[in-house]
């Protein structure tokens, strides 16, 4: 078994193969020099704790050895030879496979303009985090291009370390993609209270980076001057290998519900693939989320061993900024009406329902993990296509758990 990509998804797949009893060889090929590590902390805890960011390894060398997972780090894959079932590595050697998993993930979308220099950066890897961290201190001006999760998690980390932060978002409001307006408004207010300047509805006309300062000219005529510009305008799936190998693509590598590509010996999982989401009538989606990457990795591993198991879970993700946690189960854009449940301490949950009363998503925000339990229960209700009583959803006197039994 060969896995391309040693991130959350590929690493989980490697361990899942062993947990499922597979006894043959497992090779995990990663382009980075580090042990497989968790990416979510890079914008949050790893950025603010200690003197410098540290790696939170998913597994150390001993655990990899114990599971007989052969990690080939700092290694690129040049091509996939489907006819001979082998992959060619950067050093010219070939690696044969019975089943191949492509878990190449996604990379930051590049800002399509000239003028970007060394002080215009993206966050994807631990090494990116090391670089950004050098700038996060008092009297340093940080411009963040893109009002999405990466941008706002970094904005919170930058403020915590005393930097001045301006966020520029071209859309009329922040977190436009996938986050309901009521919740985005809480995030917006919190950042403003913490001293972040947020500019919405203003595009980037030009960027000039002279190596010392970045000057961002906005469409409105204003110029934002910064010591570092961090660009967080979304991610694109890494599909070059699959494309060259002739695998079907469709907003990423196209896979079926079992995460199999158009080649029955090759699977794809995590951020790099799009798949049919059963809970929404097989709507094809591509997710960029930590838990989904894990679930995909485990599911792909079982199917590489012949399980024929279809993907069945509900999308879920979270974000932490200052003391706030936001969690979303399902895709809120599936909803047609909303019911609000207030949990106290400013925490609340929005339930998103179809016109026929079926619960399709839930989004919540609040201090610490106040919304976690109800979001988790909502996720179970969504998975069951439940049509919960609206009064019960809105009333904290009714435990959501009791609706599961109904």
């Amino acid at each position: 078994m060969v896995i391309i990509g040693a991130g959350e998804c590929g690493t989980r797949a490697a361990f899942a193969l062993r947990e499922e009893g597979y006894d043959g060889s497992i090779t995990l090929v990663g382009s980075e020099p580090h042990l497989p590590y968790e990416r979510p902390p890079l914008s949050k805890e790893a950025m603010t704790s200690g003197e410098a960011p540290s790696i939170k390894a998913i597994a150390d060398a001993a655990r990899l050895a114990e599971h007989r997972i052969d990690l080939k780090g700092s290694t690129t894959v040049i091509s996939i030879d489907r006819a001979n079932r082998s992959v060619r590595l950067g050093d010219g050697s070939d690696l044969a496979y019975d089943k191949l998993l492509v878990a190449t993930g996604s990379i930051p979308r590049k800002l399509p303009m000239s003028g970007l220099g060394a002080r215009c950066v993206y966050l994807r890897t631990f090494d990116d985090a090391l670089l950004i961290r050098q700038y996060l201190r008092e009297d340093v001006r940080i411009a963040i291009v893109g009002g999405g999760f990466i941008g706002f998690e970094l904005a919170a980390s930058a403020r915590k370390l005393g930097a001045e932060v301006t966020v520029v978002e071209a859309q009329p409001r922040i977190l436009m993609r996938g986050v309901p307006e009521e919740i985005a408004a809480i995030v917006h207010e919190t950042h403003v209270t913490e001293g972040v300047e947020i500019v919405c509805g203003d595009g980037i006309a030009a960027i000039e980076d002279d190596g010392n300062l970045v000057r961002i000219a906005l469409s409105s005529g204003r110029t934002v001057v910064a010591d570092l510009a961090i660009i967080g305008i979304g991610a694109v799936p890494v599909t070059a290998l699959a494309e060259t190998a002739g695998l079907a693509l469709n907003n990423g590598i196209s896979v079926d519900a079992r995460l199999r590509t158009s080649d029955p010996h090759i699977f794809a999982a995590g951020d790099c693939c799009s798949f049919p989401l059963a809970v929404y009538g097989h709507r094809r989606v591509r997710l960029e989320a930590w838990r989904s990457a894990q679930e995909h990795g485990a599911l792909a591993a079982r199917n590489m061993l012949g399980a024929e198991e279809a993907h069945a879970s509900v999308p879920w993700f979270w974000s932490d900024q200052y003391g706030l946690t936001l969690q979303i189960a399902g895709l809120p854009d599936e909803g047609e009406r909303t019911v609000r449940r207030d949990l106290g301490d400013g925490a609340f949950i929005l339930f998103h329902l179809k016109g026929d009363g079926r619960l399709v998503a839930a989004s919540g925000i609040g201090p610490d993990n106040t919304v976690a339990r109800d979001i988790r229960l909502a996720e179970m209700l969504i998975a069951r296509s439940a049509r919960p009583d609206l009064t019960a959803l809105a009333s904290t006197a009714v435990k959501l758990k009791s609706l599961l039994a109904a």
Partner: protein, 105 residues
């Protein structure tokens, strides 16, 4: 053997639920199972030091509210990624409607 510490009233915890109990600078989680038995573990998840008391109890499983790491709260056994380190458990007794836990040394 150290003494039994009074943690809460039995009625403070619903069936198939958990509460947080802080004592001597440490945090614990006290559970009431669907079978109406009581259990206690360390209060913080072994993955990222999150309070388990805000998590969800299902059967004999506690699920961390942050990343859905799972433990069997009766034995402390880690039950799936991302957690791989078991949770410390503590003896519990109920006396006259009060829940006591024994913290050892």
């Amino acid at each position: 053997m150290s003494d039994w510490i009074e943690a809460c009233a039995a009625d403070d915890i619903d069936e198939e639920d958990v509460i947080r109990f802080d004592h001597a600078g440490r945090s614990f989680a006290i559970y009431r199972s669907p079978e109406d038995e009581f259990f206690a573990t360390d209060g913080l998840c072994t993955h990222e030091q999150i309070h388990l008391s805000q998590g969800l109890v299902m059967g004999d499983i506690i699920e961390c509210p942050k990343h859905n790491g799972r433990f069997n709260y009766k034995t402390g056994a880690a039950r799936g990624a991302p957690v791989c380190v078991n949770l410390q458990t503590y003896p519990v007794k109920v006396d006259a409607g009060k829940v006591f836990i024994q913290l050892g040394n």
